[in-house]
């Protein structure tokens, strides 16, 4: 009985990993796409008609041999930058990209002033 349970568990683990291999990239891509109907969700999370169609499109394009980047640019051409969760550096997104660096530098400056200069 012990062995049987063990075998069943091994079987399901394997089945899962087989499935995962095929879908890993598709999941990664759809998680990085914004659903335009329910705008707080990714395409992966959403079950709207639009999101389901995009999932099918991504799968089809992967079968056709397109790379991740090609799929992103295909959808960007159709729906604009907004469909991507990972926005490129541009005139609308520079605050988003530069602000953390800015904060990091300010934090660094504070630490430098407080601790290092004080020590000297």
């Amino acid at each position: 009985m012990k062995y049987l349970n063990f075998l069943i568990i091994v079987f399901f683990l394997n089945a899962n990993s087989l499935d995962a291999k095929d879908n890993n990239l598709q999941i990664k891509i759809t998680k990085n796409l914004r659903c335009l109907i329910c705008q707080g969700q990714s395409v992966y999370d959403s079950d709207s008609e639009f999101a389901n169609s995009v999932k099918i499109i991504v799968e089809k394009k992967l079968d056709e041999g397109l790379s991740e980047k090609q799929i992103y640019s295909y959808l960007k051409e159709k729906y604009g930058e907004w469909i991507l969760y990972d926005p490129k550096f541009g005139k609308n997104t520079y605050v988003l990209w530069l602000l953390p660096i800015f904060f990091f530098l300010i934090g660094g400056a504070i630490i430098f002033k407080l601790f290092i200069i004080k020590k000297n």
Partner: protein, 172 residues
């Protein structure tokens, strides 16, 4: 020294955050894809609704003629509202109306057309919604006015009286 720097940076950081949130407050948070006019129509293979035969999109859209591609479904309520305007448009000779039946059951679609009349010159079916994505559509109903293989007007949502007048003007 310490007492001066800390409140100074705190105020600056606060001001920056305040500015960003204040700016964000005024932006609309509903995104509509940019409607690019004069965009080329996509090329695709599609099933014909009545016969289930596959057809190339290039055969459907010919030059020197106006086409209105209308994405519809029997389950879509705004499609019912816009239907009478489509019937009206179907009387124009220079305009051919192409229906794209979006994620619909054939039986329901047929009874929808029986009930409200059929304004379409040809109906295509889009079972999995992928053709609609080729057209950068993201919902139903959506319509595209096409001339010489270019999209000259994109209508998101149902056609209403004003849009009907605008379409008639564009065609003349």
């Amino acid at each position: 020294m310490k007492n001066k720097i800390f409140p100074f940076f705190l105020t600056i950081i606060f001001l920056i955050i305040f500015f960003i949130f204040y700016k964000g407050l005024q932006n609309s948070n509903i995104y509509v894809p940019k409607s690019v006019s004069k965009q080329d129509i996509p090329k695709f293979k599609v099933k014909i609704f009545e016969t289930n035969n596959k057809i190339d999109s290039e055969i459907i859209f010919k030059k020197n003629k106006f086409y209105l591609l209308n994405i519809w479904a029997s389950w879509c309520l705004p499609c019912r509202d816009e239907h009478k305007f489509l019937i009206d448009l179907s009387k124009i000779k220079n305009l051919e109306i192409v229906g794209l039946n979006y994620k619909d059951k054939k039986k329901n679609a047929n009874s929808f057309l029986e009930e409200l009349k059929n304004p379409y010159d040809i109906i295509l079916s889009d079972d999995d919604g992928t053709i609609a994505i080729e057209w950068s559509a993201y919902g139903v109903p959506e319509s595209f006015l096409i001339y010489n293989d270019k999209i000259i007007k994109k209508i998101i949502g149902p056609i209403n009286k004003n849009i009907l007048i605008e379409i008639k003007k564009l065609i003349k």
